[in-house]
């Protein structure tokens, strides 16, 4: 059996080597070579010193977006998981529905809503109120991230919460836990795997996004994804772009690593409490 599964995973392993490991090697090569002479250099990586404020902003905006996603997503996932199966399917579909429409289109729709001459501000001015600065600030960027990545938070949470054995909840209730204690001691610890994958699935794409900040942000809210994109698209300096992507990758690993460290120890504890 073990042998068979090894063969079956072959195509993906091959795929991963061809399209993940080798490109990663290319990124590494570019990051460590000079753009003109092609010699080995660390100056591209040293350029990080110029961009750390942008790295910081990207990470913070993504952290805020991820936290908001978690705060909104958890109650929604909890609610869906406790609905009747037919309603569950409907709600699940409704959450997935926006994902069927192009990501770019959805972001552009937000632009049309939030602009100074957009739908919301036009409405406000037509009823005699003054227009609000809705677009081109950090809030708009975070809004764009939350809107676009919320399904990636809800779906893993929903899957995990749905699978929680209801007998454990009943047992806790029998042993005298009130509803808050049941949630804190049973439901929440058991949904940690969902929280972890939800956070990862929101944080990682949010931190490297460039389209959202270009459309909803101002020239002052440029994110690291924008810088990397411009290196490849306009400035033609793939070496610097590769170096910045590499640094971003390391930073993401560090962030995810820190999170995993905490949730892992939480996990052990929850096993103990049970």
């Amino acid at each position: 059996m073990k042998n068979k599964s090894k063969w079956l995973s072959g195509p993906y392993v091959l795929w991963m080597v061809l399209f993940t490991l080798i490109p990663l090697g290319v990124v590494l090569y570019y990051a460590l070579t000079d753009s003109v002479t092609g010699e080995f250099t660390l100056s591209n990586l040293a350029n990080f010193a110029n961009y750390w404020p942008i790295f910081l902003r990207s990470i913070w905006l993504s952290i805020f977006a991820t936290l908001i996603c978690l705060l909104i997503g958890y109650p929604v996932a909890y609610y869906i998981a406790h609905c009747k199966p037919a309603l569950q399917r409907l709600l699940q579909m409704l959450i997935m529905l926006p994902m069927c429409i192009s990501f770019l289109l959805r972001t552009l729709a937000w632009v049309a809503l939030l602009e100074d001459t957009g739908i919301i501000n036009n409405f406000l001015t037509s009823i005699g109120l003054s227009a609000l600065p809705l677009i081109r600030n950090n809030g708009a960027v975070i809004l764009g991230m939350v809107y676009n990545y919320l399904p990636y938070m809800i779906l893993p949470l929903y899957t995990v919460i749905m699978k929680i054995d209801h007998r454990l909840v009943e047992a806790a209730q029998d042993l005298g836990c009130n509803s808050r204690q049941v949630f804190a001691k049973v439901t929440l610890p058991l949904s940690v795997p969902g929280i972890v994958s939800g956070i990862t699935m929101v944080f990682v794409p949010a931190v490297s996004t460039f389209y959202i900040s270009q459309k909803l942000g101002s020239p002052g809210t440029i994110l690291i994804g924008d810088v990397i994109e411009s290196q490849f698209k306009a400035a033609y300096n793939p070496n610097l772009g590769a170096a910045l992507s590499l640094v971003l990758m390391v930073l993401i690993f560090v962030c995810v690593g820190i999170m995993n460290h905490f949730t892992d120890s939480d996990d052990e504890e929850s096993m103990v409490t049970l």
Binding site: R57, G220, A234, A235, Y236, H261
Partner: protein
């Protein structure tokens, strides 16, 4: 039986058809045309559809049309390879750069007899001596577009309108280093082709000063933003202004008094083109006075061929913005190609302008707070674990 016969008949008919089709497909050639966005009349508002007309005139050539939004992104695409283009339309300084880097094919003028219609003053340009590699497509100037509904007439006239704090958040700026630096250099009174490090740095500083006032750095998005009044002031190409003003009559345009960039965009064939002769046929078609006249009437850009003007609406052909008087033209300055070092320096300065940041301290404080919190939490979790373990040990001992 009848059914079998009809199927057999159908089969025979189909096989008879197949070779004919295959032959027809074998004869057609597809040329890849890579052009600026909104830079070829496409049949909108009953104007000529250049590609359709060309394919009708030359049924064995198909056109695959793609667009870019700046000389720099076109250059990057050419440089990174992966795609073969047969026609590109870069601006003057980019033609010079591409020639210097041996990236263009010399044109066979016997395939382009319509070159004869190009005005004398546009032949033998400084960016391509002898017109060996390029044929002029359009020319024009860069000026300031503004919305008369919101912008005070008294503030207009020079480039300083782009630095006017009254209009903060309503100003657009070029999203490419060459055009953006030229504006700062003209405002400061420098040469627009300077490679002097100090002058470039000072220009970059001026651009950085402008950044808080800028709504967005744009290229083709300028159309949408200016037409709807989302932005009020934008430096852009005169030809595109003429296109915009048809959608929003509140817009106005002027050539700043400090001087402005005068450019020529030229059709070239990049190295590696597999269908050079067909590409030259396409260039020849573009230069046909009737096609050129109707195409440029739609585009609003100025024509390098006087013969083409006869096929334009006389009002368009004498428009003072598309064809400024000699006094205005005297203020026009053209780009020349910068050295590789100069280009790189400008690119990296441009990047510092675009990535300049003023809110760093907030994030720095947040980060330090987060690190402290993480360390504290880590210590707390460890401490609790140890205490729990100790308690459990105690319980276990008591139980024994």
């Amino acid at each position: 039986m009848k059914r079998f016969l009809s199927i057999a008949l159908l089969f025979v008919l189909l096989t008879a058809l197949l070779p004919v089709q295959a032959q027809a497909a074998g004869d057609t050639v597809t040329i890849n045309v890579y052009n600026w966005g909104q830079y070829l009349s496409d049949g909108t508002d009953d104007y000529i559809n250049v590609i359709e007309e060309f394919e009708a005139a030359y049924p064995n050539i198909k056109v695959n049309y793609m667009t870019y939004d700046s000389n720099e992104s076109m250059y990057t695409k050419l440089k990174t390879g992966g795609s073969l283009f047969d026609i590109i339309i870069p601006s003057d300084y980019m033609v010079e750069k591409l020639i210097a880097e041996d990236m263009l094919e010399p044109l066979d003028m016997t395939n382009i007899p319509n070159f004869a219609y190009i005005d004398e003053s546009f032949r033998d340009p400084s960016y391509d001596p002898g017109s060996v590699y390029s044929v002029p497509y359009t020319w024009g100037g860069v000026g300031v577009i503004y919305n008369t509904k919101y912008v005070d007439e008294a503030d207009t006239g020079g480039w300083e309108l782009l630095w006017n704090e009254k209009y903060a958040g309503k100003i657009l700026m070029f999203d490419n280093p060459r055009d953006a630096f030229a504006i700062a250099q003209l405002e400061l009174g420098y040469d627009i082709n300077t490679e002097d490090s100090t002058l470039l740095t000072l220009s970059a500083n001026l651009l950085r000063e402008q950044k808080p006032l800028v709504q967005m750095y744009v290229m083709d998005q300028v159309f949408d933003k200016m037409q709807r009044g989302e932005a009020w002031i934008a430096p852009y190409y005169a030809g595109d202004y003429l296109l915009m003003v048809e959608e929003n009559p509140d817009l106005a345009f002027y050539y700043p008094e400090e001087g402005f960039n005068l450019f020529v965009d030229a059709v070239c064939i990049p190295k590696g083109s597999e269908h050079k002769a067909e590409a030259e046929t396409f260039i020849n078609f573009l230069l046909d006075p009737e096609v050129c006249g109707q195409n440029l009437e739609y585009l609003g850009y100025s024509s390098p061929s006087s013969a083409a003007k006869e096929f334009m609406d006389p009002e368009v052909a004498s428009d003072p913005i598309a064809y400024p008087d000699t006094e205005t033209l005297a203020r026009g300055l053209s780009f020349s190609s910068l050295s590789l070092e100069g280009t790189q320096e400008m690119n990296s300065l441009w990047l510092t302008v675009k990535t300049a940041d003023t809110t760093t301290t907030v994030y720095l404080i947040l980060t330090i707070a987060a690190v402290v919190l993480v360390v504290f939490l880590w210590g707390f979790v460890k401490f609790r674990k140890r205490r729990k373990k100790a308690r459990r040990c105690r319980k276990w001992k008591q139980a024994q």
